[in-house]
């Protein structure tokens, strides 16, 4: 890896907001641009920071450093890996599988889409395991063991992800109950009014 061009290939937005790129775009264009969005975070700390804010600057610096590190991995080296699939079916299986896996570098891209060097390595790993006869689940397990459930776009339901799975439903439920209560109250109030002031239908 020679280059460290600080941008993820494919992720640039065209002026009308649509992503420029090939087939297989899963989700919204805006969410894909994670690796281009934050260069302002890399801004150097002011030359003369106030002493009491030192740790804060330190944090800012380390954060900037993390971003730079991430950018450095997002290279422009556009590559269709020359992988020797056994047949078309295996190729389709490979593409389906890599689409369910998240790239650790450009974190809003899937593994099949990302041109980060690490994604290339991980694709190679997925391919080799496939050739060795591993099932999709085994390959996913292999990656989860190293990179956490985060690599899965469809995280499993367990204690650590319960909030992720149930919070949306809980919010809908809370909203629904609130709405029902408010509506019932209004209907009653309305009924009380119409009792007195009948005749007009609004």
């Amino acid at each position: 890896m020679k280059v460290s061009v600080m941008e993820c290939a494919h992720t640039s937005l065209s002026p009308d907001g649509f992503t420029v790129g090939g087939e297989g775009w899963g989700e919204g264009a805006a969410s894909r641009s994670v690796c281009n969005v934050a260069p302002e975070r890399g801004a150097a700390p002011s030359p003369n920071p106030l002493p009491q804010r030192k740790s804060r600057w330190g944090r800012g610096l380390s954060r900037a450093a993390v971003f730079i590190g991430v950018f450095a991995l997002c290279t422009l080296a556009h590559a269709i890996d020359p992988l020797a699939f056994k047949d078309r079916a295996q190729e389709i299986r490979f593409q389906n599988l890599t689409r369910q896996l998240r790239c650790l570098v450009c974190q809003n891209q899937d593994l099949g889409d990302s041109d980060a060097d690490l994604a290339k390595d991980l694709r190679r790993q997925v391919f080799e395991q496939m050739q060795a006869g591993k099932s999709d689940d085994e390959i996913k397990q292999y990656l989860v063991a190293r990179y956490n459930d985060f690599v899965l776009y469809d995280p499993p339901l367990k204690a650590g992800t319960a909030l992720l799975w149930f919070a949306p439903g809980a919010f809908v439920l809370i909203g629904g109950i609130t709405l029902a209560l408010v509506l019932r109250k209004r209907t009653r109030a309305h009924a009380a009014v119409t009792d007195i002031d009948s005749g007009e239908d609004w």
């Binding site: 280059v3 690490l118 190293r146």
Partner: protein, 181 residues
């Protein structure tokens, strides 16, 4: 009265949530993926030494003493930022420092270390990045604190700073001494 205040309270709760989010992001790195390898055995590896490629260093060779595995690359600008901190702040801690030259050309790495100095007790090379994947490395620099029994006790994603050395690394190293041999 309370019913009237409810929307306001709901709004304030929402504001509180947003403020919490801002506060949380101040203290956390959003792109950081916590490693599932903490408190698990370090993965097996046998990798060539940078300066003696005919020789290898394996996981079992390092058992018996704790060490800090620092993932770096000559291509990595943040590693360059971290390098003086490793030299000035981490090396004096006395813990064995093993450099993992990740996805790099050995010649580039040698030139890089010649230019900036070599704080490592040993440097191993992982040119194709396979060992890095086993460690769950996804960026550089990353560092793993491995105890004498070969268990990963702490992982730092991103560069060491004087602050996180003080707040994270030092306590973790201190804990190592307490674990029964």
């Amino acid at each position: 009265m309370i019913a009237r205040l409810l929307p306001l309270l709901a709004f304030l709760a929402l504001v509180g949530l947003l403020l919490f989010g801002i506060h949380w992001n101040e203290h956390h790195e959003m792109t950081e993926v916590p490693s599932p390898l903490i408190d698990k055995p370090a993965p097996e590896f046998t990798l060539p030494l940078l300066y003696e490629p005919a020789k290898t260093l394996a996981r079992k060779d390092l058992l018996g003493k704790p060490y800090l595995l620092n993932v770096f690359g000559s291509w990595c600008p943040t590693c360059q930022d971290e390098h003086p901190i490793l030299t000035a702040r981490v090396k004096p801690l006395g813990i064995k420092l093993v450099g993992l030259d990740w996805r790099d050309q050995p010649d580039d790495a040698k030139r890089w270390l010649a230019q900036f100095g070599n704080p490592y007790d040993a440097v191993i090379t992982d040119q194709d990045g396979r060992a890095g994947i086993d460690f769950g490395v996804y960026m550089a620099p990353e560092s793993f604190l491995v105890d004498a029994q070969g268990m990963i006790r702490y992982k730092r994603i991103g560069m060491f700073t004087p602050e996180n050395i003080r707040d994270e690394l030092l306590p973790k190293i201190a804990e190592l001494g307490k674990t029964p041999k």
